[in-house]
Symmetry: C2
Subunit: 596 residues, 2 copies
């Protein structure tokens, strides 16, 4: 079928169901960032392969909204189809709500698969439609059209993590969640996000590339916890362990029936941004359940790493550091030997060194290896056959990470490949200053992520340069490489707490010229109390040298230099026991103190 | 009458009025920061002479809430009276609302003078009382008891500023206000704050020490503006000027009658935090008036200085700088001659030098001259006979400012009086770094005062030191030394705009040891747009050398040093044309470039 035929089929399916249109959004039942192929209906129907988009098909026409990263791609991929390419948030472009209001009239209905739309979004679109007397109804007309070609749900073997890995048991975590529910005036919680279920029950699998999650839900009450997971995915021993922790097992598809028929009176805490509409509606339809809006407490609990997790994270960062050192040595050797490298080779070289490390499982996200101006595109992915050759000048940006049996890593280094321009040196130096600015920050505990984000940007702002993304995000423990609730970004109101981890990744992205990013992971630490209040700070968790060859040392302050020398000493002391003599000598050079 | 007799009289007056108690708060009909003596009833009845407090008298007892600055003073001044001294916000101390709820029962009423309580506060207390079925009623039982001794309303001669001074006319400002009212969906505004009336109508007087205000209101509609001012205070020429600007004149006391009887249909924009309850109630009682809550647009308009005001402010800061240079020379000479000085002498020395300057009118606030540990008390005022001698070591903190015919100034310098301790040098250096941190900040226009406030604190936070106040406040133009809406403080959501002025006054206050503050005024300037957005920055408006003798130069960064040298060059270049040869030589030394 062509795209136009698929859209026509959607339109006809809506009509057959007595409705007037269909909408699809990039989402799955778990509000995942990375979607299993089964939930890529928007891509299948539209032919657009980007992320974070919305497709609206009405009787009169169809339109797809993409975000700034994908404007050009959407224009290209939708060319020649009936679908109008909408640049979301661009001047003069109607919003999805405005489009819905102008294309539907009183009494008309739009259909969507409510299992793949968060409740908050469903309500937003429904409210817009209500303004013109129309409405949004949950009905899946997509699957019947797509079924023959639609990928199955992933079904990889599940496994449980040990107390040695996570420092806690499912039973203990359930106790903590129940305490939070009590504080929130609730008695029950549907745990819908995959990484939240994973944390709560120490459950992992390989359902999603780079994110070791199992497609599952959990439902927690004050005396029960039910894991909804496809039958047969857990071996008998693990199932027994969960049962011993007070967890009942049901099939993945049994959740809606369960909440429809639950006959104990519960006040269910619901986070509308992450609970899919069908689940929400099923809970709302059960008179035993009272729904109470609030943040999912699992996200906040998961965001603070316990001492065992922190110790394990240290070990995984050491292993990752050893791999990164060896990778950089390999890279320098290849360049010295005049080998011609392309961007896609970098991922292979990195994988080889990470795979040598004990407990390595997989990458924590698809490696970004971007040479020269390619790195100015923040979401660049080199494609085999269409990747750039690495030339002996300018910068190579490498953003990568690993999943180990003791944690998850995320690191970026920007390597000089040869001579650099003055601008390249300046941008690199200022990026490093921004990195240090947040790495050495000390603050009173009233200070939000917004205020700290400004700390990070200060040195770049001095030169009227900014980066159009946050400064950093949380990282899961054997989990998603992006997790909340903490983040370093404008308008983030979350307060940091000791044990939260965060990436520190400022950058300079000058279109068609250069992209630079320097990223460590940091952990928030307690800096004690005095008469002024409770002080917090960060400590680096990443042990990888920062290349100083590009740095304009005279631009650095004494504190910048002290931080660099202190950090590099720690890197050397931590990694050298695991390195060969040759590697130690290399690292000693890379971490030698600098001065003015 | 003793305090207990006065409280008993209040209680009896409440009873005679059929009520059950009385409450008094520190306020006046205009929500002024500095109160005319006529509005100090709380002090007269209680004997407590501090600021920002609340007195509650019920049938059973009486209590006075003071804030942290005044706990000890309140304890002392209330000792021996029936009034319980309440430390507001201290652990275990009931709030005013809690006290009201526990001392009144259903059907009972408290009285207050609603003309001296902001509507928002009145509603807060009334809501608390409503929880127990009681209520707050506006009735003034204070004046009959106090009348014989009560100070009259100030009645100083009023005058108008010229277009050469303010760069705008009342008619032009009325046009701007009406445009803002239109945007807010309103047609009328009661201008209640004295500095807002002063700005709107170019009106000044000397009703309040240091604040050149006239006790007045204005009421603005789309086609009328009425100034409520005691008859005879404005000369005939000025009255004609106002009439030519479309302003009607009425007696100060005619406002309530006016709003009661206004018979045009108006939507009145009301800022509940600054509109007194009696005025609010009178407007609410008029069926022609619809009240709409919102911020008083005059505050926002007044906060952005126009080019004429900025040019005049520059001139007044030059005059103030010349006076400050001469004062510092006088001070150094007196110390060199071994003269014994006390804190109160400083105010006299400063006044002499400011009074020599053309257009000087008065101080913009009571000078703070605090020697040694006294300066650790942020609100210290030296009292004649009880002031400290200045010794030849440690620091003298001097915070002062002037009202000129071309603007208002506010400046703090901390002078070394002789040898300093290591801590004193460190604290001074770090305070200077914090000062520079905000002075040289460049930021994107989405950044709030909260985020910028963190910039300022960063260098002190590195040493786990904080100051328990904002980093800076707006300053009026021939107006109040404190004005909004902009400020540098935690939780301030206001965005800076070019033309806003702000003080930059971080400090270190170590109890019983030392107090240091370095304060310039800054003006927000446009730094242009580029692909990242719209950039803003600050430029100093104060031209006074910062003493570098205490500075530990090795702690400074290259950018710190560049800022200091650039600032000092500007100070020298700006002031030297107005100084004698001897003064120039002195200033050249004080502003000589430093290096490492």
């Amino acid at each position: 079928m062509t795209t136009n035929e698929k859209i026509a089929a959607l339109r006809a399916a809506a009509k057959a169901a007595g409705a007037d249109g269909v909408m699809l959004v990039t989402s799955d039942p778990h509000s995942s960032e990375y979607l299993p192929a089964r939930y890529t209906s928007l891509n299948w129907f539209s032919g657009f392969t980007g992320e974070n988009s919305t497709l609206v098909v009405t009787g009169e026409g169809s339109a797809l909204w993409s975000d700034g990263r994908f404007y050009i791609q959407a224009d290209r991929q939708l060319a020649g189809t009936e679908i109008q390419s909408m640049h979301a948030a661009a001047a003069g472009v109607p919003t999805v709500e405005e489009y819905l209001k102008s294309h539907l009239t009183a009494g008309q209905t739009m259909l969507t698969d409510g299992s793949c739309m968060p409740t908050a979004l469903f309500e937003k679109y429904n409210a817009a439609l209500a303004e013109v007397g129309a409405s949004l109804v949950s009905k899946d007309v997509v699957n019947p059209l797509w079924e023959a070609e639609r990928p199955a749900l992933p079904d990889t073997p599940c496994f449980l993590l040990s107390r040695e890995q996570t420092g806690s048991s499912p039973a203990e975590k359930l106790t903590a969640v129940r305490a939070e529910l009590k504080k929130a005036g609730a008695t029950a919680l549907a745990v819908t996000q995959l990484d939240c279920v994973a944390w709560l029950l120490d459950l992992r699998a390989h359902d999603i590339p780079c994110s070791p999650m199992a497609i599952s839900y959990a439902f927690v009450t004050m005396d029960r916890c039910i894991l909804f997971l496809a039958e047969g995915r857990l071996d008998a021993d693990d199932a027994d362990v969960l049962r011993a922790n007070g967890v009942e097992l049901r099939d993945y598809n049994a959740l809606l029936d369960f909440v429809h028929t639950l006959d104990s009176d519960e006040t269910v805490l619901v986070e509308k941004d992450t609970t899919n509409y069908d689940l929400y509606a099923a809970m709302q339809a059960n008179p035993h359940l009272t729904l109470k809006e609030g943040a999912d407490p699992v996200t906040a609990l998961k965001g603070v790493k316990n001492p065992t997790e922190l110790a394990n994270l240290k070990e995984c960062h050491i292993r990752d550091g050893v791999a990164m050192v060896r990778f950089q040595m390999d890279l320098e050797k290849a360049l010295a030997e005049g080998k011609s490298l392309r961007e896609c080779d970098i991922d292979i070289m990195l994988h080889r060194r990470r795979a040598e490390q004990p407990g390595f499982d997989q990458e924590s996200f698809f490696t970004i290896a971007a040479y020269g101006p390619n790195a100015a595109m923040m979401h660049y992915t080199a494609k085999p056959g269409a990747d750039s050759a690495i030339e002996p000048h300018g910068f190579l940006l490498v953003d990568c990470g690993g999943q180990y049996d003791c944690g998850t890593t995320d690191i970026t280094r920007t390597y000089p490949m040869g001579p650099l321009t003055d601008n390249e040196r300046k941008y690199y130096t200022w990026t490093l200053q921004s990195h240090i600015s947040i790495a050495r920050a000390v603050w009173l505990d009233y200070c939000t992520g917004f205020a700290l984000d400004s700390f990070a940007r200060g040195p770049l702002w001095q030169h009227r340069i900014n980066y159009r993304c946050g400064t950093g995000h949380g990282v899961g423990f054997m989990g998603n490489v992006h997790e909340g609730p903490q983040s370093l970004r404008p308008n983030n109101p979350i307060l940091f707490r000791p044990g939260m981890t965060i990436t520190d990744e400022p950058g300079v992205y000058e279109t068609d010229e250069v992209g630079i990013r320097i990223e460590n992971e940091l952990v928030c630490v307690d800096k004690g109390e005095n008469q002024y209040g409770h002080w917090l700070g960060f400590e680096p968790m990443t042990y990888v040298p920062i290349d100083l060859a590009p740095v304009l040392v005279e631009e650095l302050s004494g504190s910048d230099i002290a931080w660099i020398n202190g950090y590099h000493k720690m890197v050397y002391d931590t990694l050298s026991p695991r390195l060969t003599e040759e590697e130690c000598a290399w690292l000693a050079k890379k971490t030698a103190p600098i001065g003015r």
